[in-house]
Amino acid sequence: MSSPVTVTTDPPGTSAKRKPSKLSINEAIWGYVFILPVVLGLGLFYMAPSAASLFLSFTAWDGLTSPRFIGIDNFVNLMQDDKFTGSLLNTLLYTVGTVPLSVALATVLAVLLNQKIKGMVFYRTLYFIPVITMPIAVGMVWKWLYNSEFGLINYVLGAMNLPQPNWLFDEKFALFSIVLVSVWSSIGYNAVILLSGLQGISGSYYEAASLDGAGTLYKFFRITLPLLTPSLFFVLVMSFINSFQVFDLIFIMMDQQATMLESTRTVVYSIWEDGFKYFNMGYASAQAFILFIVILVITMVQMYIQKRWVHYQ
């Protein structure tokens, strides 16, 4: 294990110490050389633009002429802009719809996969394939599945005498349709993390509980779930962050249907629209900044309340 930064300020003079001191300078130089490309690259392509973005959000800018400083006007206007507040609400609804459903199903899946059953790798592979599939292709396939006349989903619903909604073209269902696709494509990822959490739980807890005559449900709620909370916490934090940044599915499934955008436009979609379709770059930057703050606050709130429910062993 590397010791935490031992500062190498050897007293000069003593000939015995001189050699290691020389070595340390050499070491420091090589250290800087090795990190230089990554530090420069991240500085130029991530840190500087982040700072610039904050500045731009206080300007009106078309991306060509020089930006005009307008104070907090962008933020004031955004709060009164139904398109933006709507997109914020849609993103929130999407997240609230996707995250709990995906994490709950992933927990069930992880518990099932953890039963040392035959074919575990096979099942895991099948459940994981949606995770790695190009979102654009996923969107295209689901658009076809949701097709109201020739789609597979409505055919199956019809065969079971269930109502057949016009999924993507009905404002009551459009966002929900996207939520279902997101759940489908994120279960595998969440389940893999939860499964590795489950595998870290020592079998002795279960043996002790069995000796006391505990049932399956008791074991699940009193042993599995509490000991899984660190993994659940990680999965929740990541899922929230990812959900707030959803774009691809909206882009591919909704783009041609301006009418339904009203009920499905997300914040990132709105940033893209304002920034790169209408070239209101200051306005778009302000939206990106608000998105950052929202994600930051939600993550911090989660960090804060984790003490109440996450059990670290």
């Binding site: 500087a48 633009p49 394939i129 597979l152 591919i252 920034g275 998105l291």
Partner: protein, 278 residues
């Protein structure tokens, strides 16, 4: 004891049943994509839907390749993916080695600053990046698609965490033998870290292959299109010709699915490693 084994058996059977039903739901969209991709247009519009085509139209694939410049999109995507992946592996592992093993002033401060990058959503960076790329005159070139993607805070963090777990005695011995730091990195750290490097490679391949928003903003010409953009504009042109669209989707996703099936151990380990340490 007998009762426990019996309940074990029933619960395993129930687990199998649930898993199988779930797996069918998970895989159904892919089967439907494959089946539609070899149907005739009329077959795809039949009510009730046909599970298998009445005539097998494998030429749908050829028609996709003819009707759009699929070869260019493919080649572009492969070049971008390889470029970003190779770049990240080299640069992130070098920096990760320095952060994990070398001593230099302000190491922890610099490392924390890099981690802060992970907190900022990429959309925040997008608009100023567009302007920077325009100033560089990189818009609509391979530079814009590859170069910013080779610097990764995530990759540096992932590899640094892995390097921290490696035993130090080999390194100490090498130092006593007078090995240079680069030799230690190259001959000791890299060979011991194959699993972590493969995991990072897979994450990067996946992210580059499936990337949409960045190339959408930064490129505009037909020659610079990548697959994700190619097939989304393809959808715009053939919005109802689902057999063609599905054939395109199959071709766009197949390489990654095959890669996953062969390397899935590394995918899963990488994600699990990340989940525990993140």
């Amino acid at each position: 004891m007998k009762t426990t084994t019996r309940t074990d058996k029933t619960s395993r059977l129930a687990a199998h049943l649930l898993l199988a039903v779930g797996a069918l739901v998970m895989i159904m969209p892919f089967l439907w994509m494959l089946s539609t991709s070899v149907k005739s247009f009329a077959d795809s519009m039949s009510v009730p839907p046909k599970w298998l085509p009445t005539e097998w139209r494998f030429d749908n694939y050829a028609r996709v390749i003819d009707s759009i410049d699929f070869g260019t999109y493919y080649l572009n995507t492969v070049i971008v993916t390889l470029g970003r992946t190779a770049g990240q592996l080299v640069l992130c592992s070098l920096a990760a080695y320095a952060f994990a093993s070398l001593r230099f002033p302000f190491k922890n401060t610099i490392f924390l600053a890099l981690l802060a990058v992970l907190m900022v959503p990429s959309q925040v960076v997008m608009i100023p990046s567009f302007v920077i790329m325009r100033e560089f005159e990189w818009l609509d070139t391979f530079y814009v698609l590859i170069v910013p993607g080779i610097f990764s805070a995530f990759g540096t963090f992932l590899l640094r965490q892995f390097f921290m777990t490696l035993p130090k005695d080999l390194e100490e011995a090498a130092k006593i033998d007078g090995c240079s730091y680069f030799r230690i990195y190259w001959n000791i750290y890299l060979p011991l870290s194959k699993a972590a490097l493969v995991s990072l490679a897979i994450f990067t391949i996946l992210a580059s292959w499936n990337d949409l928003l960045w190339p959408l903003i930064m490129t505009s010409s037909e020659e610079m299109r990548v697959l994700s953009i190619g097939i989304s504009s393809f959808q715009g042109q053939h919005s109802t010709d689902y057999p063609l669209l599905m054939a395109g989707a199959v071709m766009a996703t197949l390489p990654i699915i095959i890669l996953f099936i062969f390397l899935q151990r590394y995918f899963i380990e990488g994600i699990a490693m990340n989940g525990i340490k993140g």
